[in-house]
Amino acid sequence: MRMNRRTFLQLTALTGGGLALDLYSLPLAAAQQADAPPELTPQAFIHIAPDGVVTIMARASESGQGMRSMLPMLIAEELDVDWKDVRVQQADLNEKIYGTQFSGGSQNTPQGWEPMRRVGAAGRELMIAAAAEAWGVPTTECTTAHGRVLHSASGRSVGYGELAAKASALPAPALSGVKLKDPKDYSIIGHSRPGVDNHAIVTGKALFGIDVQLPGMLYAVIEKAPVFAGKVKSANLEQIRTLPGVRQVLVIDGGITPAAFTPWEPGMEPGIAVVADTWWQAQYARRQLKVEWDLGPAAKQNSEAIRKRAGELLKTAPGNTVRKYGDVDAAFKSSAKVVEATYEYPFVAHVTLEPQGATAHWKDGKLEMWSTSTLPGNGRELVAKTLGIAATDITTHMVRSGGSFGRRLQNDYLVEAAWIAKRVDAPVKLLWSREDDIAHDAFRPGGTMGLKGGLDAHGKLTAWRQHFITFGDEKNVASGGGIGQNAYPSGFPPAYELYTSVQPLTLRTGALRAPGDNAYCWVAQSFLDEMAYAAGRDPLEFQLDLLNNSMVPWATGEHDPVGDHEPTGAAVLIPERFKGVLELVGEKSGWASRKKEPGRGMGIAAWFCHLGYFAEVAEVSVDAQNRVKVERVWAAGDVGSQIINPGAAENMAHGGIMEGLGHMAQEITLENGVVQQSNFHNHPLMRIRQTPKIEVYWRKTDYAPTGLGEPTLPPILPAVGNAIFAATGKRVRTLPLKRSGFSWA
């Protein structure tokens, strides 16, 4: 597979810090992206009314990361207008004029930072050109401020609103040639701007996917088999058709071939769609369904058997070598101390608070969709393919969603809504129940890691061996279950081996916020902590010392697309930045002077992913019943030279930390293929009383700004696990916490 840079960026965005194996199971954005990105124009993004009100198109979908505010802020800054005069409008899907409209992998900042500012600057130049022409003066004599063009020599000035009609007819300047502001002159970038939808949110306006309302609209639910991809054998369809409000009952044969490897978009799941006048009538009727299912091979899957098999695979020769350098065996032989441990983490579900769903309207051979997808171009392609229609006959409106966390990168619910709409003579809104949403999630795959590390007589790390048991077949690894040769601490121990082995999995898996990293960080940073204690050294000092080793670079090329990094060099771990956040969080948390008392402890961890560096310290208290309360968290982040929207950035860091804590108590288990969890009582989220006091600090560096959706999350899990060890002497090697004998207070 030969990837150009654009495809590469899209793919690595989804898979994190270079989970190379995953790339081959995610044939995603290549489908939606032309090789050459379009030349963006200010006319596509900026509309200025005669009264000077500036409408800026937000190209990315919004599911809570603040993209609807952040990207327009970049444009507004360089356009040189006041933020109070800006209105933001969500763009429909049209990547020919907006460029990528994908939101994921913390990529909107790195992919938007330069182009969006240049779009704004080009708009500003158009305004100057229009004014200069009207005044008959050289453009070089004109300046701008607060949405006006000024000519200081003559004292004249004119508002953008008066120039807009004239400016829009002028040829747009090439983006590469426009002049950008000196950061010291920023009045919007670097200044907190509340989310543009906040007022609508706090007043309960229709805003989300679930809120879409169209004249004559019907509502749909889908009953699916209790196991993945089970098919309908027979059902009491005629009886259901007679129930109040029911308009149609449709059997979905589906398009999934259950196999040892389940692709990223495996096809439609079979089921029975019930369409009714209201959602509640559809749901009520659906509950009267009596279905005989052909459950298929997925019904043979059991979590206990999967864990047992993982344990067996750990003891056998690995299936695949991801990376190997140095003589690990020799290093272990000559080590003063060798430490071994097995770490295990579960499947978890995304549980976006808004369950999956979409609205679609089929009329006169054309389809109109209201989509919450964060990979909307791919959604359109899938719909076109499934329905056998041309993508050009589909209009996609992008609607704010109640959370994605990676879930809405997949478009299964969108395809379902479109499939139903094509068979119904009205607009249709599909909405999953919470139980549907958990049972048919694209789960973060679980995993088992065997680790072995060596220490010399001075307590220095001599070698590291890691064997990762994941899922897939001979050729493919389950989505979200791949690992790359740059998996930290790869490159830093003098000798290193990373292996994988797979077992089959007939289940939809996918990307959960910081995919891969949300688990691998916990494993690696917990085991490093173990090594530090085994060496009798301070964990922070131990890791800083490890980072002082000269890094053994990984080979570039097909198996490591991350080597093909952007000019910033940001895709490859830079030790100075990793150490920088560790030192900063150590300083802010008072790490060096922390108290040692029973039942209370502090833990530290750091990670690099999605181009960002975060180190976090957690302080926990643990009571006699092993109930853990996270009292305080300090976070230090390095995402480059500029925090674009500081208030939102801090909020995002809080969110990553809270989500990571949530992961520590969640698990999805299978019994005879049936997901055993169904709602928030058995797949819990953190509550307000469990929220620690959180402090967030930024380490500004000279690198181009990068995103925050993901890198804030991974370090909190090992920071808490390591703090529990400091407090109790007991090591958390199995998640969820209850499997290690702990629970949240």
């Binding site: 369950p355 109640g402 809080h654 809270m658």
Partner: protein, 157 residues
């Protein structure tokens, strides 16, 4: 079956099955989209409204059980979005995805109505039934305190 409800101080008559949850009457019959569906079991609080001034999960409240008690939804919390809680939520930029926030604000409104100056412990108790999947709890707490202070100022004027 026609059922009479008092929603945001207006009397409405709806023709729905009596065992329909109030949430779906609000959303799909009365087109009040502020209360959200999150779990259908009263576990997440996204659907919270006030019934007789108390915070109630409308997804597990049958429409026939409401009776003559007044229902207040986020749309009726203030005329123009200027309830101290709404203002504090905007000023502190609380939302991330925003989906849970209407429910959070309604639970907070019920809290402030009987505890104008809640302690952190009182906030923990009153807000314990509302989850924020995005994890904005720190700001939710701060916004409740800010609204409490603003309300106090307003009351003493």
């Amino acid at each position: 079956m026609p059922i009479q409800l008092t929603i945001n101080q207006a009397v409405k008559t709806v023709d729905v099955a009596p065992d329909t949850p109030l949430l779906w009457v609000l959303r799909d019959v009365l087109d009040l989209k502020g209360a959200k569906f999150g779990c259908g079991m009263g576990l997440c609080g996204a659907c919270t409204v006030l019934i007789g001034g108390r915070a109630v999960r409308s997804c597990v409240t049958l429409v026939s059980a409401v009776g003559s008690q007044p229902v207040t939804t986020i749309e009726g919390l203030s005329e123009d979005g200027t309830h101290p809680l709404q203002q504090a939520w905007e000023e502190l930029d609380v939302p991330q995805c925003g989906y849970c926030q209407a429910g959070q604000i309604m639970s907070a409104a019920a809290l402030l109505s009987h505890s104008p100056h809640p302690t952190d412990a009182e906030i923990d108790t009153a807000m314990g039934g509302n989850v924020c999947r995005c994890g904005t709890y720190t700001r939710i707490r701060a916004a409740i305190h800010q609204a409490a202070n603003a309300g106090a100022t307003a009351n003493t004027k």
